[in-house]
Subunit: 117 residues, 6 copies
Amino acid sequence: MTNRVQEFNEFRGKMNERILGVDNRSIKRFFSVDTLTYERGALDVRTKEMLGLVASMVLRCDDCVSYHIQQCKKEGVTDDEMFDVFSVALVVGGSIAIPHLRRAVAFLDELNAESKR
Amino acid sequence: MTNRVQEFNEFRGKMNERILGVDNRSIKRFFSVDTLTYERGALDVRTKEMLGLVASMVLRCDDCVSYHIQQCKKEGVTDDEMFDVFSVALVVGGSIAIPHLRRAVAFLDELNAESKR
Amino acid sequence: MTNRVQEFNEFRGKMNERILGVDNRSIKRFFSVDTLTYERGALDVRTKEMLGLVASMVLRCDDCVSYHIQQCKKEGVTDDEMFDVFSVALVVGGSIAIPHLRRAVAFLDELNAESKR
Amino acid sequence: MTNRVQEFNEFRGKMNERILGVDNRSIKRFFSVDTLTYERGALDVRTKEMLGLVASMVLRCDDCVSYHIQQCKKEGVTDDEMFDVFSVALVVGGSIAIPHLRRAVAFLDELNAESKR
Amino acid sequence: MTNRVQEFNEFRGKMNERILGVDNRSIKRFFSVDTLTYERGALDVRTKEMLGLVASMVLRCDDCVSYHIQQCKKEGVTDDEMFDVFSVALVVGGSIAIPHLRRAVAFLDELNAESKR
Amino acid sequence: MTNRVQEFNEFRGKMNERILGVDNRSIKRFFSVDTLTYERGALDVRTKEMLGLVASMVLRCDDCVSYHIQQCKKEGVTDDEMFDVFSVALVVGGSIAIPHLRRAVAFLDELNAESKR
């Protein structure tokens, strides 16, 4: 049942390694800025991950949404809070976000099922 | 110096009134869902307004960004926290967001100048 | 051959039920405004569904396109009319919409094959 | 009061002439396909212009919206029908479309004021 | 291992034929302008294909990216040059492009594996 | 006549200084990656600037388009080559890019007028 979670993380890990193995300074530094951005600053990691989640959902990137859902759960964001993030994404981004919301909730359900094992 | 803030709010107010004066149930209800979404739920208003801000910036809507900057300030979001929100928007949305970031900071500076009077 | 149509509708139905089962007023009301919007108003349902179709295609949401193709067919939109909608989407949205057009036509063909049984 | 309508049409006309004066076959043909697309086909011009309007609004292009509002009015689309088009754009495209809706309604009001003179 | 490349090209070819078999002048002409655009003009085909690639990646269309990667390889664009194109897309389009970058590199690797056979 | 060019560059310079004066490491590093990306790599600066231009135009950012037009001119990109870049943007991005094309050509004309003085 959690195949999707595992497949997602394996492909993500494998391809990130492949991409960072290439000698392209701009891409490498972009990845490092990306990591830096979600570290604790004036805002805590938990808030930043919710910001990353809502941004990913209005831009309608399923993989980005899945990634930030995982990070949000690690930071203790509850399901009710997650749905509040989704509600902002839905209202700002419109009904075009609904199919992404469906896949986000399916992914969240798989994550929750996995953590209950 | 604060002309831009005032003009923005006046046009916004006038046109919202004009639009809600039209007998179109779908549009009226959309506006009411929009308001509801930023009310306190599992997340507080402050967090929701930051979510609205980052979503507006990655979708590159200057007026929406200006609106949520105002709301964030009302909720006590500091300038440093605001720049953390901007940093997530910039990294998620890319350099295409930079001109919107410039205008956002200019708007924030006008708001700050105004509140110091 | 019509597996894709069936799978799409089953996942859509199941996840909508799951999402509306959550106690989040903003999301629930958004779904209800969404439904209201396509009801007969100054424009008839048939025209509104074509509007929903073209909007979905320029925003490049395959699931939304599939949904509105089904609704358009229910409202008696012919294939020739559907291709006129596609042509507006293609010209407004550009060649980036072509892969979505391919999948839209494949979905339409499956729907047509199904209705001929 | 109708300065905005006039300025918009003058700049549009002048720049189209400038662009089509350049010897670039791809751009010229694109402009000609663009014109062709809104001619009567399986759908009438009126419906196609409403499709162009909703597509422009969800893609959030103020100039495109202004242009199609003018064309819709020429085709006899009433204000109530226009607001139905806007409602589909708003629900599909989300609150990020609201500032564009405000400017669209302001433009429509200028057009209406002009035609009453 | 090269199934993805083959499947992509087969579906693309089959659906293009299906679409161009329909009597819709606007769509047909759009496809012909699309072809014309990448022919040698003031810029050579190689440069134009890189332009098509970066445009496809910032607009986040996997199929368009796959297509232009194939064309770029035909025009002799090296892997290092391809990653330079990717770096511009990443910085302009932001981290939201990363999942598309992963799939682009996986597709490029399949193409390279195929050509080594 | 060249007021627009000058105003654009002044606001850009002033706000970049303001933004980089803030102690936000993520934003600072993003700006530095942005600069790095257009330096000579496997591709030369001239090609990279054309990539930046087409990406900016399909993402419909007027300021980004203006900036890359300036850079392209510095790198010796001719007007005919520039229109080839525009043609790719137009076909990939669709008619929604036309208003941005108009403003891009108007900006290019101002730049050209300026350099003839």
